[in-house]
Amino acid sequence: MSIKLIRYSPWLVHFNTGACNGCDIEVLAALTPHYDPERFGIRLAPSIRHGDILIVTGAITKKAAIRLRRLYEQMPSPKFVVAVGACAYDGGVFKDSYSLRRGAREVVPVDIYIPGCPPRPEAILHGIVKLLQKIEKLSEVGSR
């Protein structure tokens, strides 16, 4: 859980694929003074082409799925995807709707899931820290 591990400043890109706004306001709350993730260098990127981590919130509607795929392709590598909330995992209470795909992993490879409906801001930070540790491990293996 050490923060020293984090060498880089990952920039987030947030995409709402059809969420109820619950996860969105918690992602927003996670970026405000109470939790202040800029301590880790985390901030919202101005454009998808500057982003390192794509945060997906909400049920994946068929219309948004096309856009999600396109956004993912436009991100520079290395790129990571965080799926926030039950809806991004498999549709949550909305599964079986005629308008939905089943989960973000059908469209893009997801690196980490944050369960909750919606997850607390701390849980979102916890998930991102966990992802950063995973990245760290990957890069250590790569440098050897």
């Binding site: 923060i3 939790y35 039950a86 549709g91 949550g92 209470v93 599964k95 992993r105 369960p115 909750g116």
Partner: protein
Amino acid sequence: MSLWSEILKNVFKKPVTIEYPKVKTPIEKDFRGLQYADLNKCNGCSLCAIECPSKAIEMRKLPEDIKLKHNPRGLYPVINYPSCVFCYRCVTICPVNAYITKNEYRLATETEKLLSDTLSLQTLKSGGA
């Protein structure tokens, strides 16, 4: 004048930021966090799996070596947490109040599924059945 007092007040005030991983934020004891079935009580009626609004509960067969008198069908609920919406419908609908609730919320997972089966099976050992 008031400007100066405001400045002084703010210079000596602690920042509102909670240094999250180092300092834990205070969470209510009854915050809706993870929940799992206590197998000492569960009778395998499957009502929670039927009532779950997000269909996150799957009824599984108990391992072969475990035989429970109060659970003739040998089923127990397994919750898949990423799919769960933490509405606690399963907790309130359970006829034997078999669910244990915790305020744990840090559940981030890299795997595709995060199940409650180990937590549930542990309740048997600690309960000393």
